[in-house]
Symmetry: C2
Subunit: 153 residues, 2 copies
Amino acid sequence: MSVEDWDRDNCNVGRAIEFIGDKHTMLILREAFLRERRFDRIQRNTGIARNILSDRLGKLVSAGILTRRPYQERPRRYEYRLTEKGIDLWPLLVSLMEWGRRYGGGAEAIRLHHKGCGAVMTPYLACPECGEQIGARDVEALAGPQAVLRQSA
Amino acid sequence: MSVEDWDRDNCNVGRAIEFIGDKHTMLILREAFLRERRFDRIQRNTGIARNILSDRLGKLVSAGILTRRPYQERPRRYEYRLTEKGIDLWPLLVSLMEWGRRYGGGAEAIRLHHKGCGAVMTPYLACPECGEQIGARDVEALAGPQAVLRQSA
């Protein structure tokens, strides 16, 4: 079966996009990785309208990407932290940052410091088998075991 | 300056999200990386309404992420291909795919084959300095040279 005939209902990219394919959600995730946990600070840093921010935070909690816990009583206030499932979105943010740096004017408002070796660096994608750096042209997509043949229209 | 005080107007993640922080756009990019170039096939594979698809394709062309060129006259029909700027979004798609695989049920409709070494693999992020695999907890964000201090409210 060739990739062209594969039914996209079964697509992991599509599933991920269902959760995070929204610009407000992506900005909230950025703030979460910068350890901004409180509604008012996230609101200030993103400029998202309060009702939309409240909606998107609720969806991220429902999706298990953020957890919510009270940090204050009377009035009760919550903070939002990334779960493991949320932390696993880090490569997505790194990809956005690097592409934005390359094509958004080249400013570096943030740099990534690798605590292990001390380098200020931009991560790259590597092949776990051979260790080589890989890009789009080094890879081809093959139909996987759960690919489903498209029903013809 | 601490990262908390940095004005987000200068954010590369935010700039990238302006271009691609939309679920329709991200699905179109998926199709582009699967070498689907024609309106009708992209429409069929994504299920995006024709008017929205037309709008998003136009925006991707304007942004220099896709190019449009005719493949047929009378009636004139165009195909859409990734530019270099578009191809550089590949790490984003890989990140979405891997996260979707891990948290979307685990099905593998597509596998990535590294042409260089022959492995079927999932790329990982590595540090260019030491070569080690890196994740969110191995890295801290530092204010970069173009960070701008937030004006207090």
